[in-house]
Amino acid sequence: MKGLINEELIYLDLKEDTQLQVLEKLSEALYKENRIFSKEDFLKGVLAREEEITTGFGNGFAIPHCKGQSVKTPSIAIGRTENLVKWNAIDDKGVNFIILIAVPEENKDNIHLKIISKLASKLIDEEFREKLHRTTSKDEIIQNIIDIKIEEGM
């Protein structure tokens, strides 16, 4: 079973400064890592979801996501941008920490979905957010996700 994330799926200093550019970059990473079947279809799904309801959760975080047939295996790609990106966020502020979530249409994989849902919930926790904003290494980010697994006893 593949892990949710690896170092190739994390960018800590993205220069991209529009929502579309960031989503393209992260989708490209998911495609290269063999996590999605089609970058175009996946991106279309992500943008459609974004149009229905913003994924800008405030405090600089966004959790764009797509569940569908374009996804091979549950995955997360993370991008931290140098500049604030406009995201129509609920607090009307820009976003600089983007967690792109890919979930296959058929879900047989509860553990990974559980981690994803816990990750979304944990973003309400200021301490956790600060930790992610401050992080200096990809390892640290991966460790934070492993910690969720441990906390939940998975």
Binding site: T54, I63, I90, S117
Partner: protein, 99 residues
């Protein structure tokens, strides 16, 4: 006051859980207690019992799809809103549910 809520969105990976924490945070701020059941891609978590529903002063269904075990709320006064509404303005949702 004591509230119960269910959150559910079609994708069930992010907004369901974001709305849950938004409601919990706001309820705490306003001095109320709330238990929020989520119905996401992994199914029901933190499920509400019939007793909890009966005893609640307010019920919020922040849902964008048909939920499982909907019969629990039959005949009850519920505030039904979209997930995005609960996310954007949890205070309004809580006040309306208690009104």
């Amino acid at each position: 006051m004591n509230l119960v809520a269910v959150t559910a969105c079609p994708t069930g990976v992010a907004h369901t859980y974001m709305a849950k924490v938004a409601l919990e945070k706001e309820a705490k701020k306003l001095g109320h207690t709330i238990k929020v059941e989520t119905q996401g891609a992994i199914g029901i978590e933190n499920g509400l019992t019939q007793k909890e529903i009966e005893e609640a002063d307010g019920i919020i269904l922040a849902i964008e799809m048909n939920i499982l075990k909907a019969e629990r709320f039959k005949g009850k006064k519920v505030l039904k809103i979209s997930v995005s509404k609960a996310l954007k303005n949890p205070e309004d949702a809580i006040e309306k549910a208690l009104a």
